[in-house]
Subunit: 176 residues, 2 copies
């Protein structure tokens, strides 16, 4: 290691995901929409939409690529079966989130097939996706805050275990 | 401001782009491919592919969404006319880069129409894009290092002023 200014993030590797795997969080975008994310393992996330026009959407098996950017700061990227590309930045100590999502046009026009569990409705989603229109892709950028944050075991099927519509009253409003 | 631990990035705003606008850089991915980026202004980037199978691709007018993640750390996201969604993380003090790119299938199969200046070939690119196939979208994650970095004026048309094939010998090999 040579001298000079200390680099931002040399103390741990970009591939050190020990601080993100197992994290379970609820976050609210500035527009009020609420989402839930569980980092099931280093290659898989689970999510639910808890509040907003996309209420009801969820997945228990979304492959994702994750990196550690610096202490407490992570980026998760994934492509959904719909053709939507999502990049989420999580500042865990700050409890902040920033997301860019690239939406195919049909997802904005008629999202109905995507408002359940992706894995239960894959044929319909792919039929809608292939019918399109895909373009223009709309890049939406959103800021939000993490309203609930906990650490769970990896690969725990009890964290995200039911559809958003089956959750107890007040679930999305939990804070800590 | 309440007490408690100091958040990562409260000393400047996520929207403070003063440290990224005007930056001009060359970076090399771990596979050896080299790219060049000029942050023309807070809404626009310019780029060139200098080395690798995508050699020749360039743009002087690519809208992008940018945020400051923390000191010296920025994220730039954009959707190209091809339908490719790119997210680039730049660690300026560390001289590192991490990119995720969501590639439509046709871009991997027959990229020929995309290997010039996008703005000069938009009709052909959009025809190829609409012919597809778009799916599966392939999410490629890459790490690299910044080999050349300087600060230029914003909106300077002399930074990226010609096709990659018209650059002087050794241009891509400049380091500082």
């Amino acid at each position: 290691m040579s001298g000079g200014p200390t680099p931002i993030s040399q103390c741990a590797s970009i591939d050190d995901l020990s601080g993100i795997v197992g994290k379970h969080l609820i976050y609210a975008y500035d527009n009020g929409w609420k989402y839930e994310l569980y980092v099931r393992n280093a290659e898989t996330i689970e999510f639910r939409c808890l509040l907003g026009p996309m209420f009801g959407r969820w997945s228990k098996n979304q492959p994702a690529k994750m990196v550690r950017l610096t202490d407490g700061l992570y980026k998760l990227a994934w492509v959904e079966p719909t053709g939507t590309t999502t990049n989420v930045i999580l500042w865990l100590p700050d409890r902040r989130v920033h997301t860019t999502i690239s939406y195919p046009q049909w997802m904005l026009d008629y999202p109905e097939s995507t408002l359940g569990r992706y894995e239960d409705n894959l044929d319909d989603i792919i039929a809608d996706r292939d019918r399109g229109p895909t373009y223009p892709l709309t890049l939406v950028s959103s800021n939000g805050r993490i309203t609930f944050l906990e650490t769970r075991d990896p690969d725990d099927d009890t964290v995200i275990d039911r559809a958003p519509g089956k959750l107890p009253t007040g679930y999305a409003d939990r804070t800590n």
